[in-house]
């Protein structure tokens, strides 16, 4: 599943926006490595910067945003230094493609679905005309659209939401990219359709050897598809590890809080856990740990100094002072412990 060949490595990325005459720091020095063929999920609440972070890999930041510092290394090139459209054209689609959240608006309403898929093929696969059309029909079939020949000629308004999302995925896949970024790919869809789309993405990943980044706030999606999980809070990755490490042995209090708010983990008869307070104001400079004001386990140092990454295992690290040897021992909340026990029991049974 995972090997050690890095395809993308982001280091200490800082992204700023100008908004209402003020400067907003959307990404505050986030780092991430992506390995070939894996599925990485970036989770976080709205406004945590997960979309902005991945958009910067493709030069799709809004006009008022810019990369302040840091690097994005892809195939020995630093994408953070790319400025012109001509630079980005070499990356967009061909190397990294993206699937957006809302399939209802992601397609051009006045072009047939087939033409929109074909456009990707003609751009990136050196095929024109009939050949490109043939491949487009094939890909439509691959994404699970029945009667692709007939559907090729139809307009987006003749498709349902789930079907449109398949078309959007087909457009991305037709570019033949290395990396596929799926920005909340199932959020706008019915629950029954969600699972189908995720299964489809899994299948396509195998068939086309894709590395996939899922951006989501839905931990259910994550549990289904992700090999690794990066937890994002206030523009920084605060915990990163293999899926089971983050789910069953989380270290950062924010990850605890996030997992505790899963309804499945609620303890019967007790009120469902919810994270108190609001995310920090990104217009202000954040001192120390961004989560500290909302963290019931916050240490004094959390308000003073930003924690470094502490390594838990070679694949698992977290940015919290609680992992410092001098810090007092804090047990994760009951629900997290319960989850871990359940997993251990399940593991024993399997043995």
């Amino acid at each position: 599943m995972t090997n050690n060949e890095k395809v993308l490595s982001v280091d200490n990325l800082v992204i700023k926006f100008n908004l209402r005459g003020q400067e907003l720091t959307a990404i505050r020095g986030a780092s991430l490595e992506l390995y070939k063929g894996e599925s990485l999920a970036i989770v976080g609440e709205s406004g945590s910067g997960k979309s902005v972070f991945t958009k910067s890999f493709m030069g799709l930041l809004d006009a008022n945003g810019r990369i302040e510092s840091g690097s994005i290394i892809y195939k020995d090139n630093d994408l953070a230094k790319y400025k012109t459209e001509d630079d980005w054209i070499k990356i967009r689609g061909k190397e990294i493609a993206m699937v957006f959240q809302d399939p209802m608006t992601s397609l051009n309403p006045l072009k047939t679905v087939g033409k929109q898929v074909q456009e990707s093929i003609e751009l990136h696969q050196n095929l024109q005309g009939e050949e490109a059309k043939k491949l487009a029909v094939e890909i439509l079939n691959d994404v699970g659209i029945s009667e692709p020949e007939r559907r090729y000629k139809q307009y987006p308004h003749e498709f349902s939401g789930g079907m449109r999302q398949r078309v959007v995925i087909a457009i991305a896949v037709a570019c033949n990219p290395n990396i596929l970024i799926c920005d909340e790919p199932t959020t706008a869809l019915d629950v029954t359709i969600q699972a189908q789309i995720l299964q489809l993405l899994k299948n396509l990943q195998k068939k086309y050897q894709l590395t996939i980044i899922y951006i989501t706030h839905d931990l259910g999606v994550v549990a289904n598809v992700a090999d690794r999980i990066a937890v994002m809070y206030a523009g920084d990755i605060i915990e990163l590890g293999l899926s089971e490490e983050v789910f069953f042995d989380p270290k950062h209090p924010y990850t605890w809080a996030l997992l505790s708010s899963l309804p499945q983990l609620g303890i019967k008869g007790e009120e469902l856990y919810s994270i108190k307070g609001t995310p920090p104001n990104l217009f202000k400079e954040i001192k120390g740990d961004a989560f500290a004001p909302r963290n019931p386990h916050a240490l004094k140092i959390d308000f003073e100094k930003r924690p470094p990454y502490f390594e838990v295992t070679p694949t698992h690290k977290a940015r919290t002072w609680l992992l410092d040897p001098r810090a007092p021992k804090v047990e994760p909340p009951l629900s997290i412990q319960k989850m871990r026990e359940m997993e251990v029991k399940r593991g024993e049974r399997l043995e």
Binding site: R20, H297, A298, L299, R306, Y309, F310, E311, W321, R326
Partner: protein, 328 residues
């Protein structure tokens, strides 16, 4: 500030006492959030950022104030009196502005029958502004009433929609011409004719807004949360409504001034003894082929341009600044 290297070493000189629990204060956790947004404040801020609009606003306010007080200033002449040279007993015909050879001082000169152009221009501006503002107000009253009924009373929707479709299909110019042709020329005729066409747009916008209050999710949500109707109206609807109404009214004024000029041009305007910008343009046009007399066209043309452009720009910039999407 951030470390690339994952580090677990302890040689960082951090005071160990810092590794104690901080006091957790739930209210403090709320403080970090951002919500100091105020609709009107942001609207004002965005508007003030547009230098051109602010300059025009100052300009138009001064012009309006000046037209109001001009007759009461000292040494003003009557806009309708024909001035006669006491030495020759003849009228002061086509005297150029500030002509030194004439003992009396006409700031903008006189017209072809010896009336003072300066006084006539301000009097005409008053007339035209009066027409413009009246049309804007009547349009707003009729448009909002019909629009509200249209949007609110579901039974009326189909009926008014059909009426609207028919009425909107007739060119505005045709309605103006035929109404003024049939009725006697007067200020009220002109205002009536313009209102007959102008309310359509206003009614449609108001109707669409009413539909928004009824159908938008956030209003449904507000109602479910028990927000009183008055608060829904002031917080959710009024911002939209005010900006749209202001825009329509601001645009109605230059349109009305333009229509008055048009009607005067085709001979359906005000009687010529009432100075209006349309009548002044017509008088100026009659003499414009004589380079010495062109001032009689240029002065009213300049005033019309200033007034119409100001209202148009201010209305549009205000509408833009009242659009929450521009509050960034």
């Amino acid at each position: 500030m951030t470390r690339k290297k994952i580090m677990n070493d302890i040689n960082d000189n951090i005071d160990p006492s810092l590794f104690e629990f901080a006091e957790y204060d739930e209210t403090k956790s709320e403080l970090t959030g951002y919500s100091n947004y105020s609709f009107w404040k942001s609207t004002f801020q965005v508007f003030m950022k547009n230098k051109v609009a602010v300059a025009l606003l100052i300009l138009i306010v001064s012009v309006v104030l000046f037209t109001a007080i001009q007759p009461y200033l000292p040494n003003q002449k009557s806009p309708t009196q024909i001035y006669i040279n006491p030495e020759t007993g003849l009228q002061y015909r086509n005297i150029r502005p500030n002509d030194p050879s004439v003992s009396e001082n006409f700031i903008f000169g006189t017209n072809s029958i010896g009336q003072d152009l300066w006084a006539r221009i301000w009097s005409g501006t008053r007339t035209s502004l009066f027409i413009g503002v009246s049309v804007a107000i009547f349009e707003a009253i009729v448009g909002i009433t019909i629009g509200a009924l249209w949007g609110y009373v579901r039974k009326l929707d189909a009926v008014i929609t059909e009426v609207y479709n028919v009425w909107d299909n007739i060119p505005t110019t045709v309605v103006l011409i035929i109404l003024t042709y049939v009725m006697k020329p007067s200020i009220s005729t002109i205002i009536f004719a313009m209102c007959m066409t102008g309310w359509l747009q206003m009614a449609r916008f108001v109707r669409n807004l009413i539909l928004i209050i009824r159908d938008r999710e956030y209003n449904l949500a507000s109602r479910c949360l028990g927000t009183p109707t008055s608060r829904i109206i002031t917080k959710n609807l009024l911002p939209y409504l005010v900006s749209v109404i202001m825009l329509r009214m601001a645009l109605a004024i230059p349109a009305a001034i333009g229509n008055e000029v048009f009607l005067s041009y085709i001979g359906m305007g005000l009687p010529i003894d009432i100075p209006s910008l349309g009548n002044l343009i017509n008088e100026g046009r009659a003499l414009m082929m004589d380079p010495n007399q062109r001032y009689q066209l240029f002065f009213p043309a300049a005033v019309i341009s200033v007034v119409t452009i100001s209202f148009y720009v201010i209305g549009n910039v205000f509408a833009d600044s009242a659009d929450p999407r521009n509050h960034v």
